[in-house]
């Protein structure tokens, strides 16, 4: 079928990987951006945007979830937050941001992706801390540990498996969200699919989709390894059922 040979040709043409003029393009203000015709550059841009979004989400959600879980307050709020974000279309937030003062481009995408990366980290950090066996907590208090020590030396280590599971969910989800950037003039691997659709080169569409899917599955695999590595062996069974 010509479609599949077209996709194969696209993937096996070296210039599609390196770009016609290198990995970066100069911008008018003297800076640079990732070349939009190179698979390597778009992958790097994709990873950078995902990393920025997840880092932003971690920075806000992790301390908040750990604290709320430690004092066991605001459980209902975390549930509401995750339910509302499930109903909120990513495209809606993306287009609203792009139409606002933030403007088109990668910043709107990173902010929108960060907001969607937020709930899994928050909920899992909260649940991990709050659901620690009360007997364990009491034993720690009975041994004279301060609340701070209970949080950092008892609750946190026991919450690590769930926190790692939340991190995996939100990372994979972010890598899957970033392709939408192509719709608001941003970069990342969605550009390949979007350009292909616009120019009716369906072989390129197929190739771009395969690259994105492969990247998402790879990231999921890497994160699952990471999750396993930070989870102590006796807790693995429990983490598998909770995720």
């Amino acid at each position: 079928m010509s479609l599949i040979t077209d996709a194969w040709d696209y993937l096996t043409t070296w210039e599609n990987w390196t770009g016609a003029n290198g990995l970066t393009t100069a911008t008018f203000d003297g800076g640079w951006r990732f070349a939009q015709d190179s698979i390597i550059a778009l992958t790097l841009e994709h990873l950078w945007m995902s990393f920025a979004a997840v880092s932003l989400a971690i920075l806000v959600a992790l301390p908040l979830g750990l604290f709320l879980g430690h004092v066991r307050r605001g459980g209902a709020t975390t549930v509401v937050v995750s339910n509302v974000t499930r109903a909120m279309p990513t495209l809606a937030l993306l287009t609203l941001f792009a139409a606002s003062a933030i403007g088109y481009g990668n910043t709107a995408v990173i902010l929108a992706a960060a907001i969607f990366a937020f709930p899994p980290i928050l909920t899992n950090a909260y649940t991990g801390m709050a659901d620690v066996d009360p007997d364990i907590r009491e034993a720690a208090v009975g041994q004279g540990l301060t609340p701070r020590q209970v949080a950092l030396r008892v609750e946190l280590p026991l919450a690590i498996p769930l926190i790692a599971a939340g991190l995996r969910t939100s990372t994979v989800q972010t890598v899957a969200t970033v392709p939408l950037a192509a719709l608001v003039a941003g970069g990342g691997l969605g550009v390949i699919v979007n350009t292909g659709l616009a120019t009716q080169r369906y072989g390129q569409v197929l190739a771009g989709a395969i690259i994105i899917a492969a990247l998402a599955l790879t990231i999921d695999f890497v994160m699952s390894r990471l999750q396993r590595a930070v989870t102590p062996a006796p807790l693995r069974e429990a983490a598998a059922t909770a995720a």
Binding site: R86, T90, A92, L96, V193, L197, L206, A213, D220
Partner: protein, 220 residues
Amino acid sequence: MDAVPNPWFSWDYVERNWSEVSEQLVIHTTLTLQAILIAFVIAFPLAVVARRIPRLAGPIMGVSGVLYTIPSFALFGLLAPFTGIGRTTVLIGLVAYALLVLVRNIVVGLQGVDRDVVDAARGLGYTPARMLFQVELPNALPSIIAGLRIATVSTVALVTVGVVVGYGGLGQLMFRGLQSDYRAQIMTATLLCLALALVLDLLLALAGRMATPWLRRRAS
């Protein structure tokens, strides 16, 4: 130059364009319901098989897990060259994503059925089919309804990504609002999306309550 007014919301826009807005709302709603219905029809037998033949549980969950991990943008891109641009492509994608949530919740529901209840039914001479529909299914209903609610709400949000192949329901309005830089259009579509998700979620919760009267009796 006078700035063109670009409000975040305008009743005037909604009234003037109601025929277009309602048309996309209807597309959005029917697409969601159709996808959930098809996904359920596929997921139910899969879940029953996964429950009855544990050896197949791994592959069934694995395949639906991989489908779920593939980004929606990429999945529509994978399908578009074969199924064309339009409704079919979006529908297949939506079904693929709803599958994992539904299969998982049905399996969890069936696993959660009290063994004593199953043993009692077997002792009464229930056939496997009767056991499934009259004993296991009613007991698994709360988990199944929970799965349907999650799948439906996510599907409402996911339909919008259909703009990639030109068939995104209310997503079309968002995208067009962005292209013509008209905020009220984006906001209207966003609010309708959230409202649709809320209404469908409440209807399913209500249906779930009516289908499991024994749970309320037990509570009171």
